[in-house]
Amino acid sequence: MTDASTPLLTIRDLRVTFGSRPAHEVVHGIDLDVAGGEVVALVGESGSGKSVSAMSILRLLPEGAGVTGSIRLDGKDVLAMSQRELRSMRGNTAALISQDPIASLNPVFTIGFQVVEAVRAHSSRLSAKEARRRAIELLTLVEIPEPELRMKQYPHELSGGQCQRVGIAMALAADPQLLIADEPTTALDVTIQAEILDVLSRLGREQGRGVLLITHDMGVVADIADRVLVMHQGALVEHGTTQSIFDSPQRDYTRALLDAVPRIGRRGPSPAPVSADRALEISGLVVEYGGRLKRTVRAVDGVDVHVRPGEMRGLVGESGSGKSTIGRAVIGAAPITAGHVAVNGREVTSATPRQRRHARQAIGVVFQNPSTSLNPRYTVAQTVAEPLTQVEGLRGAAVKARVQELLEAVRLDGHADHYGHELSGGQKQRVAIARAVALRPTLLIADEPTSALDVSVQAQVLDVFRDVQREMGFGCLFISHDLAVIDELCDTVTVLHRGRVIEEGHREQVLTHPSAEYTRRLLAAAPVPDPSVQAQRRAQRLAGAA
């Protein structure tokens, strides 16, 4: 292993350009070192150049990318390597763990095939049998249950967390000295994230490997990084030990980035909503999918939720908890097997299609992905005007005035004539909010509206959301996996797990003094942007596991 004085990876003045005539520089000369046994986090928002920088270490950038500067990995100049040398370096000296664990596995080959392939890529002398044994060893190492069964399965038969373990097992196949982990837990639930981070931290610190962790999540950084480099618009803004970056950030950008991260308990007390009316009343809701030839899956299993007028109700849970399905059932996009859904006191489950359509006009919806939920051929104004002209039958100047008013409310006046692709993710989501509230709904359903956005953008969108809600006073079902976001925005919380309600109540009570074991686990697993707290939690978790 390399000792700290001669780092495993040394990057000097790395510059990456795309295209030609004129080449567009996206990384403007960064320096970076990673030593063995050290976890270095490269943080930044999307477009900051962090992934591009990391991929240039493996020379895995798309065709047409130009890389200059110097990258020395284990004493060798990566930029001078031939195709052959690159092949023997990849996976062997430095290995990659990708962001999307399912997409990064080939869907038509078994897990065993792919892990064995990784094993044999660098030790072709192994017999098929030995390679297989080694593959099972690797899967055991990353704590996959029943590794021999997994060998025969296909990626789609495994959960996201298990796929990510397979990805890590493949990365470890040739025992590389450097692991490059590109947002390794972004696609995973918090409890799974905690487990994967445990594995990564063990592989790094305890086994002497260098880990370069690319992430936008300050909680993850606080959890496992020793040192942090902050990137912004292709340049290195600040670097230091994790403790110093979190305790005394020097640059405004770093400070803003840290401030934008939502945290539980930052908001202080808030009054509990009291009205006896109900904007939404769900009781005994059961949603089942499948049937006939397929196995029936009960996505929602007897759920009661209500939202008062003006109340922000957070619906929190991990993937598969049924939280999105509940939202879909309310707007009639999921089959209701049993139970009742009433909007403004009017039952929608037993109503005629016409009545249901009418009831839905009182509901606004904001979806997770603003890029796909806006029609790319509509301008901002057309998008917002559509419900006004189609449902309310407004025409001419009346539409224009309302659109202007709505765009001002979401702070987008001046963008009326822009198309979706001309807007940033946060702006698009604000357009979606304006459209959702155009008909002055009494109930708004927001399904993970900020989870596709960067933290600083998320903060802005949540701000807009809060203002619009205060002004219009609709009740809101806010679906999210992020407890901190819910704490900053909502009045009340319902915690879901496997289609059932685990706990329900005022947000302060549920999120700071949870009574259910599951809520406590969820809270403990969500990393907070504070290295000392995370260190304490990790010690507790490992002590508990031992």
Binding site: P62, R87, G91, S98, L105, N106, P107, A121, M170, L293
Partner: protein
């Protein structure tokens, strides 16, 4: 159990489609204007007794439903009926199939080999000159109406160069079949190669390809195995459907090259109002179509574990 049920459901669907489509064809052939008996006689005036006898023999005065049921019961007994000249239909069909099948398989093979090669080359060199040249050529070729292409081929390779016979099957396989097969293949080439190209390009950008490279897997294996195996799924579906289509006989090509195939027979039968013949051929085509669809599903299941073990 689950599979048995799925197969049963599938077969029930087949039976419905089969009955529906054969009836529509039967009915539409009988609704065509014109008198089959008069068409048989040409310009001569037939004695009333002959007309009556023929009408009786072919049940021409029965309602179409009764005739259809009669046809179905014949099918069940393996009897396709007789044409208006009194010859049994089954042996006539049997003598035509080999020509159509040979033509279809030859054309299909040429299409597979050329289409895959062109698709792979243009995908791996996408955006480069060779890709653009192949794009313009294949699309240009498939823009030419097929009869123009056929006649140009006959003129150049048949008459001028004398490499292949201009028409007929007397020279046997492969000589008689190469020219018509090439015309068919060239016509369908653009679709196959474009599909292969776009599917490979899509898979080249997939994340698992980056994973494979990051593992240190060689480029030849990355493309030959990881990319190709995934690109094969949509390509195989298209090619299987295409084969089914070609097996149905190509009326125009068989006509121009005077190949005594099923397409040719169908064309004649429609012209002479040979209702029984049209129905028999159409029935065969429907069976081919249904079998092809089934084959495509089986192929899908074999190639894609997400469907096999979804």
């Amino acid at each position: 159990m689950k599979i048995a049920l799925a197969v049963a459901q599938r077969l029930a669907g087949f039976a419905l489609v089969f009955l529906g489509v054969t009836f529509v064809i039967y009915w539409s052939v009988f609704s065509l204007p014109g008198d089959p008996i008069q068409a048989l006689a040409g310009d001569r005036q037939l004695p009333d007794s002959v007309v009556a006898a023929l009408t009786e023999a072919y049940m021409l005065d029965e309602p179409v439903g009764v005739q259809y049921l009669h046809f179905l019961s014949g099918l069940v007994h393996g009897d396709l009926g007789v044409d208006l000249s009194g010859r049994a239909i089954a042996p006539q069909l049997a003598s035509r199939w080999p020509v159509t099948i040979t033509l279809a398989l030859t054309a299909w093979t040429i299409q597979v080999v050329l289409g895959l090669s062109i698709g792979i080359v243009s995908a791996l060199r996408h955006g480069k000159t060779i890709d653009r040249v192949l794009l313009v050529t294949t699309i240009g070729a498939s823009c030419i109406p097929v009869f123009v292409l056929a006649i140009m081929g006959q003129l150049l390779f048949g008459v001028r160069l004398g490499w292949f016979p201009v028409a007929g099957t007397s020279a046997g396989w492969p000589l008689s079949y190469i020219l018509p097969s090439l015309v068919i293949a060239v016509f369908g080439l653009a679709s196959v190669s474009r599909l292969v190209r776009s599917s490979i390009i899509e898979n080249l950008g997939a994340e698992y390809v980056r994973t494979a490279r990051a593992k240190g897997v060689g480029e030849r294996r990355v493309i030959g195995l990881h990319v190709m195996r995934n690109s094969l799924i949509p390509t195989a579906t298209y090619l299987a459907t295409d084969l089914g289509f070609l097996l149905g006989g190509t009326v125009v090509i068989e006509g121009i090259f005077n190949l005594p195939g099923v397409g040719n027979l169908l064309f004649q039968a429609i012209r002479t109002h040979e209702a029984a013949m049209v129905a028999a051929i159409s029935t065969a085509l429907i069976v081919i179509f249904l079998v092809t669809t089934l084959l495509v599903d089986v192929l899908h299941t074999l190639l894609d574990p997400r469907i096999r073990r979804g």
